[in-house]
């Protein structure tokens, strides 16, 4: 087995005492050959990221450490390597890229200096040589105008550009192993496609082994040679990508794959023609204010929503899809009057709610409610779940007893135990909190639910459960829903109609099936083409 780059045998990583489980990773055995891409797939808490950290010798010591087992890198056991030796290896022979390219780069140092550090610590080169190499590297990762980017600070680049710079840094010394820890999770789908392509191109050139950590089966299908599926620190299944994705054996793998939303839109449902909500030429700009005493130039402004016109019919789900910065969340907030739009009409039944003031709006708030993206930030940590849910109806004038008994019913409807009523939000998992968020929205018996990326912070199996819950509720309560998402797979499974947004404008609307089959606008085509795992989908479907 000398041709293997990496051979991890019987690796145990312990967690600090009092954690949910004793071992973060238990009895792990994986290997990696040159030029190979190994994907470690798992949901949050499966131990996949700690495995990567262990490899780099970057476990958060002293609480989390390797208890037993060996990590053999070209014959050298890294668990026994000294810290100076590990420092030598890191960045030159094994390097790593991370999920969030904004926080992974030092905000007060230029890209050039940060790339330069790799050379400074591992290579004997003069200053001008190092600078030249940095520029070449940035060119290699296809960044425009590398000379300028060398002198730029991270915040001056876009998310995709930052990740490219990270990749340039990681590949600076042609490492034997590249560890990529969810490198595209924070990126938009079109950027993700470009970054994945870049990683595999770089891999072909440098013949490095790539250890790719992800939760996204679409990505796995596109890039992996072999796959390791992890659950609670155990490897439940390993094999070639074809075997694991198409003939999974372990029930957990099967369940995971089953919960990946299919790209084939579901059959359209019959719908009424009654319009419950319509927006006409909604506009929203941010910024553009004058500075004190009107001196100097006015601030820059962002045209977040431009002339958006849409309607929502009773009982249907309208999907608003787009990448980050497309204005979809701003639009949602304008629709439910969390933000005041600058002009246009928002008709709820026969009332233009845009023109209403706060007090006039209050009775209408029961009709239209929102479910938020981040289940951790959107629930007040100091208020008990029961109060969170019953607060809305009490403000609207319901009696406390009635609101509370309704809150208990709702907890049952969203699939939570009644005991949740007297607990605080932090006692619940992400999926459970999202259920609480849904119960809160339902407490006012709304006719319209605006869901802003309600599942994007959740693991794929939880995501499937929440989507199912939303579906049930929508059927049983005859809700109309505006569903905001960046994930076209989710959109395919949830939405009856889609509105595709870019730069604040809706570029295309239509029935979900039609848009997926025959997109008209070039941007929609790009978006659809960038969804990872399409070949695999077609294989499964056909």
């Amino acid at each position: 087995m000398t041709d293997k780059l990496l051979q991890i045998s019987n690796l145990d990583i312990v967690l600090p005492e009092g954690s949910e489980r004793d071992l973060a990773v238990k009895d792990l055995n994986i290997d990696l050959s040159p030029g190979e891409t190994l994907c470690i797939v798992g949901e949050s808490g499966s131990g996949k990221s700690l495995t990567a950290r262990a490899l780099m010798g970057l476990l958060p010591a002293p609480h989390v450490r390797v208890e037993k087992g060996t990590i053999s890198f070209c014959g050298e056991d890294l668990t026994k390597a000294s810290e100076p030796r590990m420092r030598q290896i890191r960045g030159s022979e094994i390097s790593m890229i991370f999920q969030e390219p904004m926080t992974a780069l030092n905000p007060v140092m230029t890209i050039g200096v940060q790339i330069d550090e790799v050379f400074r610590y591992h290579a004997d080169m003069s200053k001008s040589e190092r600078r030249q190499r940095a520029i070449e590297l940035l060119e290699d990762v296809q960044l425009p105008d590398p000379k300028q980017i060398v002198a730029a600070y991270p915040h001056e680049l876009s998310g995709g550009q930052r990740q490219r710079a990270m990749i340039a840094m990681a590949l600076a010394l042609e490492p034997k192993i590249l560890i990529a820890d969810e490198p595209t999770t924070a990126l938009d789908v079109t950027t993700q496609a470009q970054i994945l392509k870049l990683i595999s191109e770089m891999q072909t050139i440098h013949k490095s082994g790539v250890l790719f950590i992800t939760h996204d089966f679409g990505v796995v299908a596109d890039i992996a040679d072999r796959v390791v599926v992890m659950q609670y620190g155990n490897v439940v299944e390993t094999g070639t990508v074809d075997k694991v994705l198409n003939k999974p054996e372990h029930p957990y793998t099967k369940a995971l794959i089953a919960s990946v939303p299919s790209l084939v839109p579901r059959a359209p449902r019959s719908r009424s023609d009654q319009v419950v909500l319509s927006g006409d030429k909604i506009q929203k700009k941010f910024g553009g204010g004058k500075s004190l005493f009107g001196l100097g130039k006015p601030n820059r402004f962002v045209h977040a929503v431009k002339d958006v016109t849409l309607d929502l019919r009773r009982g249907e789900t309208l999907g608003v899809v787009g990448e980050s910065g497309s204005g979809k969340s701003t639009l949602a907030r304008c629709i439910i009057r969390l933000l005041d739009s600058d002009s246009g009409n928002i008709m709820l039944d026969d009332v233009d709610i845009r023109a209403l003031n706060r007090a006039e709006m209050r009775p209408l708030r029961t009709k239209i409610q929102m479910v938020f993206q981040d289940p951790f930030a959107s629930l007040n940590p100091r208020i008990k779940v029961g109060q969170i849910i019953s607060q809305g109806p009490i403000i609207q004038g319901q009696s406390k007893e009635k609101a509370e008994s309704r809150a208990r019913e709702l907890l049952d409807i969203v699939g939570l135990d009644e005991r949740a009523f007297n607990r605080y939000p932090h006692e619940f998992s992400g999926g459970q909190r999202q259920r609480i968020g849904i119960a809160r929205a339902l407490a006012l018996d709304p006719e319209i639910l605006v869901a802003d990326e309600p599942v994007s912070a959740l693991d794929v199996s939880i995501q499937a459960q929440i989507l199912e819950l939303l579906d049930q509720i929508r059927e049983s309560m005859n809700l109309s829903m505006v569903f905001i998402t960046h994930d076209l797979r989710v959109a395919a499974q949830v939405c009856d109609r889609l509105a595709v947004m870019r730069y604040g404008e809706i570029v295309e609307t239509g029935a979900t099936g039609k848009i997926f089959e025959n997109p008209q606008h070039s941007y929609t085509k790009d978006l659809l083409a960038a969804v990872p795992g399409q070949k695999w989908d077609r294989k499964v479907a056909g």
Binding site: M56, G91, F98, V108
Partner: protein
């Protein structure tokens, strides 16, 4: 447009914006001070022991205190715009002259205090963060806690007892030994010698504050993702601490230091009284009791101008420390 000309534009704009702010402060102060009972004439008459109402009336007329408030304000504002801060009848001197005379001692005290507090605060905080959870960290934390909790005047008095009376290391009071008529470098040395105790006293509290802030800020930055990235590149811990983390950790400390310069002027009253330091704090304190409003207003004007200027300096420094802050 390049960065330096951008900053220049920004500075000049901020200076122009500062003028109405300072004028507003002057107006506000004028009315606030006139809310206090009694005027300079009452105090002068009281001190003289015998003054007829007619004589007091005449004095008021002479000082311009008999006119209605708005007129007084208008006259004062007109003078201020011509950079004339009026006359202190109490000290029989031009206010401008008086203030500038007393401004230098305060400036010396303030600058040395800030340098000491911020400089040592950063060093101690850094030291504590590097030696986290060791006895060194504990010693720094306990020191910070004690100095934070001790009243300024008490520290001053104890310092005098310890270093001036028991051991004759430093002078008890004053700014220089005027009897010696030192010149040039000798004089600088003499002032520095007098400066030691007041500076330490005034800076101890702030030193504790910055130490704690710096330590917390360092620890927060150590937890950031970019530290892991740096480690993953094989960068040494030394460089991570002093290049990556330090610069990010400084940002909140600089902000805080800028905000507190204003508070320092207030804090200096106590220290100036304890050490008989001939500064603005002392002058303000005395003139308040003498109802010497002209002088008091002048001091306030100067300190507000100082705060506006220091805030501007901090903002510009911040631009250089943090590239994410844009000047516009």
């Amino acid at each position: 447009m390049n960065r330096s000309s951008k900053i220049l534009r920004y500075v000049s704009r901020r200076l122009i914006q500062g003028i109405p702010i300072i004028l507003a402060i002057v107006v506000l102060n004028f009315f606030l001070l006139n809310l206090a009972e009694g005027d300079a004439v009452d105090v002068l008459a009281g001190e003289a022991g015998s003054a007829t109402p007619e004589y007091m009336e005449e004095m008021r007329k002479k000082f311009g205190l008999d006119k209605p408030l708005p007129v007084q304000l208008a006259v004062y504002l007109k003078n201020v715009i011509q950079l004339d801060l009026g006359y202190s009848f109490r000290h029989d001197m031009q206010v401008t002259e008086l203030i500038i005379d007393r401004f230098w001692p305060t400036l010396i005290l303030m600058v040395s205090t800030i340098l000491l507090a911020v400089g040592f605060g950063i060093l101690l905080g850094l030291f504590a963060a590097i030696n986290l959870n060791t006895w060194k960290d504990s010693v720094v934390s306990v020191f910070a806690l004690i100095t934070y909790a001790t009243p300024l005047f008490w520290v001053g008095l104890m310092m005098i007892i310890l270093f001036s009376i028991k051991n004759d290391w430093f002078p008890t009071s004053g700014m220089e030994n005027s009897a010696m008529f030192y010149e040039g470098f000798e004089r600088v040395k003499d002032i520095a010698h007098h400066l030691v105790l007041p500076t330490i006293t005034l800076s101890l509290f702030y030193l504790a504050l910055y130490t704690r802030m710096m330590r917390a800020s360092m620890l927060e930055q150590y937890g950031q993702d970019y530290v892991i990235t740096a480690r993953a590149k094989g960068v040494s811990e030394r460089r991570i601490t002093f290049v990556h983390v330090l610069r990010n950790a400084l940002l909140p400390v600089v902000t805080m230091a800028g905000v507190q310069v204003g508070a320092l002027i207030g804090g200096s009253v106590i220290v100036e009284s304890v050490f008989a330091w001939p500064g603005l704090g002392m002058l303000a304190f005395e003139s308040l009791f003498a109802r010497d409003l002209n002088l008091l207003l002048g001091i306030f004007l100067l300190s507000s101008a100082l705060v506006v200027a220091v805030n501007l300096v901090v903002d510009v420094v911040y631009c250089f420390l943090d590239p994410r802050i844009e000047v516009n």
